[in-house]
Amino acid sequence: MTPLAGYLLLSALLFAIGLGGALARRNAIIVLIGIELMLNAANLNFIAFWRYGPNPEALTGILFVLFSIGIAAAEAAVGLAIIIAVYRHYRTTNLDRITSLKG
């Protein structure tokens, strides 16, 4: 197994773990944590491809990841703000209880 394949598998596993947690836990913050894990898995994927792929001089992978980190940070901030606002209203972070948008 090439190193690249190894890193890719690792990233896939990390992604799956993050996804599983996001889909299976009740707490909204845990879901957010899972999402962060998924984002990080994607970042790892990019760096791996940058390292072992063609044309590493373009630094494409690195820059992409930098931007991704920035965006992830923003997203985490906004998401947590929303959770806090929702918590204030519903008095819970339990996703099962937050069903106002039920169709």
């Binding site: 889909l23 836990r25 009740r26 845990i30 690195i62 931007f67 906004v78 947590l80 204030r88 819970t92």
Partner: protein, 166 residues
């Protein structure tokens, strides 16, 4: 595959699993921080030093702390005796497993992955900076704008409402 890779891999996976399965939220957040650190190590091993440091600074230093704060601010709603798993958690785990199988299968069975061993590329800060200021100037500005908007937005969303709404 060097031994360092396996160690880092085990660290990352372990702390990720812990982050997802612990009951105490703060423990989850701390495990997440460990995961971030492990990832930073992985970046260092992949010769993306700047990214590694950025990872530590941003993720560990900001995001993880932020999550801890959020946990602390939203405590008291749930009792300790409640289940941590949402109804239909089996479906969720199943889907995650499915995704892993699909993605992993794709990776393993792929014939397109490059196999040529390359020399270590150089990714100096200077080069990154050059790229940022020339080719990626637009995304840089947009990120700036995005961060500003996110900042303002987060503040507004989380602001305590005055007389009217509460």
């Amino acid at each position: 595959m060097s031994a360092g890779f396996y160690v880092i891999a085990i660290l990352i996976v372990g702390s990720a699993v812990a982050a997802m399965s612990l009951r105490n939220l703060v423990h989850c957040a701390l495990s997440l921080a460990v995961t971030f650190a492990g990832l930073a190590l992985a970046y260092l091993q992949l010769q993306a030093q700047f990214v590694g440091f950025a990872q530590v600074l941003v993720y560990v230093g900001a995001v993880a702390i932020l999550i801890v704060f959020a946990i602390l601010l939203t405590r008291g709603g749930d009792s300790e005796k409640e289940a941590i798993l949402s109804p239909g958690w089996v479906w969720g785990l199943g889907i995650a497993a499915l995704v892993f199988v699909v993605a992993g299968g794709a990776v393993v069975s792929s014939k397109l992955l490059p196999t040529v061993q390359r020399a270590t590329p150089a990714a100096t800060v200077k080069q990154i900076g050059d790229q940022l200021m020339t080719q990626y100037i637009l995304p840089l500005e947009v990120i700036g704008l995005l961060l500003t908007a996110a900042l303002i937005g987060a503040v507004i969303i989380a602001m305590r409402e005055t007389e009217g709404g509460q």
